[in-house]
């Protein structure tokens, strides 16, 4: 056999990654961006030397802005995050800063807490909705092979592998949030859903091969051998497709500028994990079937 007999290695690796992700999520949680928790964000560009964090704090001391998170980005830019402020305060803040530093405001965002709560709810619903859709669609698409492997099993295991991918990506961002102040915004949710779409695509390709091989079952071939053969047959495709998609994503990750960086990181990790978890989904199918017989 090619790989199915070595599936324990995959289980151990995935188990470790998933547990580490869950620990990171429980310990630190995600750092939500202002889109989710409400607040303000200002991105500034310094024409000459960038001010230090202390200088900014010092300058804004009298405005009573509460805690200001200051983050230098790129070469000359700086992002300030704080509580929700109104337009007058925003103007005052700019006035104060402009009187001390030579700056240009690149971007300003304020999100009220109501919108944040709403979006959080929407985000969770849409991820759950997507998962449910995948289970139902796969169960339907694979209905013809029900006489060998019950078709709902494909749906459920595909969903398990999706959860695996999402958990790892979210765990990574909990980790990044804690150590590098990386925030999770709306594009992160868009990324998660795109990962769902791609990862399920990988799983479908392998399952589709299993389905086809089942319909033309060879004599004296065990189910684990059949899955192994299917994985071997789809290996070139899986590697090539993942590689080309990652090529495009790497291009954006490296050349695409700051704003998209973490969105792209989420996609890259998620899509790599998605390709990997299509193996996992197949192994789980083998173990489910063996357990049954």
């Amino acid at each position: 056999m090619f790989i199915v007999h070595r599936r324990k290695i995959f289980y151990i690796l995935s188990g470790t990654l998933v547990i580490a992700s869950l620990v990171a999520l429980f310990l630190w949680g995600l750092k939500f961006g202002i889109e989710f928790k409400g607040g303000s964000l200002i991105e500034l560009q310094f024409k000459q030397n960038r001010a230090t964090n202390q200088e900014i704090n010092e300058a804004l001391k009298d405005l009573n802005l509460g805690e200001i998170i200051i983050q230098p980005t790129g070469e000359k830019n700086m992002i300030l995050r704080m509580k929700e402020i109104d337009e007058d305060t925003h103007q005052k803040l700019l006035e104060v800063l402009k009187s001390r530093f030579d700056i240009e405001e690149l971007r300003f965002e304020v999100v009220g807490p109501v919108i944040g709560k709403e979006l959080k709810k929407k985000a969770v619903t849409s991820v759950v909705l997507a998962e449910i859709f995948m289970i139902i669609y796969l169960a339907w698409a694979f209905r013809k092979t029900s006489f060998v492997v019950k078709s709902y099993k494909y749906g459920i295991l595909a969903a398990v592998s999706l959860l695996h991918d999402i958990t790892i990506v979210t765990g990574l961002f909990a980790f990044l949030g804690h150590f590098a102040n990386v925030e999770v915004g709306l594009t992160f949710i868009a990324g998660l859903l795109a990962i769902l779409g791609y990862s399920v695509n990988d799983t479908i390709v392998v399952y589709d091969r299993i389905r086809e091989n089942l319909l033309r079952l060879r004599e004296k071939e065990n189910f684990d051998e059949l899955v192994d053969r299917s994985l071997r047959q789809t290996l070139a495709r899986s590697l090539n497709t993942t590689f080309t998609t990652l090529l495009a994503l790497f291009a954006v990750l490296i050349f695409g500028g700051e704003t998209l960086r973490y969105f792209m990181l989420a996609l890259t990790v998620g899509i790599a994990s998605g390709a990997y978890s299509s193996f996992l989904a197949s192994f789980l199918l083998v173990d489910w079937e063996i357990h049954r017989s």
Partner: protein
């Protein structure tokens, strides 16, 4: 003998079928070529226009330039301001709330247009029980002024007719090109009566004729001014202006005391209702509060656009390189199909139009991966069929047939996630969902139709 004849006949039939098939392939190739040229010209009309210039200078046939359509860029790419207001509708009855929101939207749209914003978007969004007003102002970076302008009370005023002599004088000055005169209204002049004195406007019907009209109710002070105004203007017209443009020009029949007036005219019930709505909105705007704001300076937008375009092109080149190195001739065909894919996609972005945001460009680049995947699936399948001993032409069809269920299922699930994502009204996510959707939909077409025809065209003789 008889057998021999029969075989000849079959061969002849096969040959006939073969040429018919080949003609069909050629025809589809031609169709794809024309489609690509047209879509490409929509994407980048400069080349077409240059060709036309050359043709016209040599042949003087007068070919037209290509239709120009710009890409629609989101606020994050061209700079601009995105504002979200929540309306305080506590004082409005539940059944009138939709109408009030429409009224506010109209007023704000007019105000924004006055400000000279190109292509502003003002929309009402209902989230649960609360009504939101979303205002997108491309190119506006002076947020302070924009917010002031939108938050201000819409301006309703009554204007009276100028004397004939006065009108003539202004018109003469305007003809002479006097800058000051050009800015003044030659026919009407302002009065003291404005929306500040309007208490309420209502749709009503004439008792006898049953025609719709709009009744106005003034405050006490307004009633006095109105009485004075009508007294001196009997027989003349009194114009009602909203935000600087006339909405109704009724004629004064007699002095009107009691602080009530009506605007009659030949309007339909719908028009009268709308007028009342606008007047109410103009006179009694529902208070709105800013709850979310995003503004992107033009320089950041430009940098983001340049960087993401550069990244997209580098990504494409990398993919093309890999496909050609790995799949050789077939890979080159797939790259060609991929170029058609990119051209078609960009043309559709312009034609629909899809508002391109930073995340949207990311979605497009991601969809390229999907398009390549379909090709890879087919090629791998074709390789297997060849190994199993099939000839090239039948391996093409068989490869497509076998790869189809995976391609279909993969595309459908990705389309579904794009649709779910579209439910977010936030522009960045929506942009991503839209480009992912169109990209994946077109990839289905290019991979299954175009790559296949390319392959058949190239290998038709073998």
């Amino acid at each position: 003998m008889g057998l021999f004849v029969k075989r000849n006949k079959i061969e002849a039939e096969q040959k006939g079928f073969g040429t018919r098939q080949r003609n069909k392939i050629r025809l589809i190739m031609l169709g794809i070529f024309i489609l690509a040229i047209l879509a490409g010209s929509l994407d980048y009309p400069v080349l077409w226009d240059r060709g036309v210039n050359w043709l016209n200078s040599n042949l003087s046939l007068g070919f037209p330039y290509f239709y120009k359509l710009p890409f629609k860029l989101g606020l994050d790419l061209q700079g601009g301001t995105h504002l979200v207001y929540v309306a305080d509708l506590n004082s409005i009855e539940a059944k009138d709330r939709d109408a009030s929101m429409d009224g506010i939207r109209d007023v704000i749209e007019r105000r924004v247009n006055l400000f000279g914003v190109t292509e502003p978007v003002v929309q009402v969004n209902k989230a649960g029980d609360s009504y939101r007003l979303i205002v997108d102002l491309p190119g506006v970076t002076d947020v302070h002024q924009a917010i002031d302008m939108i938050g201000a009370t819409p301006y309703l005023e009554f204007k009276e007719q100028r004397d004939q002599a006065e009108t003539d004088a202004i018109l003469a000055k305007q003809k002479a090109g006097d800058a000051e005169a050009l800015k003044t209204d030659a026919y009407f002049k302002s009065t003291a009566l404005t929306g500040r004195y309007l208490k309420k406007a209502q749709l009503a019907f004439d008792q006898t004729t049953n025609k719709p009209h709009v009744t106005l109710e003034f405050t006490d002070e307004g009633g006095k001014i109105f009485a004075e105004l009508t007294k001196i203007n009997v027989g003349k017209v009194l114009a009602i202006y909203l935000d600087g443009s006339p909405i109704s020009v009724p004629r004064v029949q007699e002095e009107i005391s009691g602080g009530k007036a009506q605007i009659t005219g030949s309007f339909t019930v719908e028009e009268a209702k709308q007028l009342a709505q606008r007047l109410n909105a103009g006179a009694l705007p529902v208070p709105i509060n800013l709850i979310s704001q995003q503004s992107v300076g033009p320089s950041l937008g430009k940098v983001s656009l340049d960087k993401s375009l550069k990244a997209g092109i580098i990504g494409l080149i990398a993919i093309a390189g890999f496909m050609i190195v790995y799949y050789r001739k077939n890979g080159a065909l797939a790259v060609l199909a991929l170029m058609v894919y990119v051209i078609l996609n960009l043309a559709i972005f312009k034609a629909i139009p899809v508002t391109l945001t930073l995340a949207g460009i990311a979605g497009f680049i991601l969809s390229i991966g999907m398009a390549v995947d379909a090709n890879v699936l087919i090629f791998e399948r074709m390789k297997e069929e060849r190994k199993a001993g099939r000839d090239f032409m039948s391996s093409i069809d068989e490869g497509f047939k076998r790869a189809w269920p995976s391609i279909r299922d993969g595309h459908i699930t990705t389309l579904a996630t794009a649709i779910i994502l579209y439910q977010f009204s936030t522009s960045s996510v929506r942009g991503f969902a839209l480009t992912l959707f169109t990209g994946v939909a077109i990839s289905l077409f290019t991979a299954v139709v175009i790559t296949r025809i390319f392959l058949k065209y190239v290998y038709r003789s073998s």
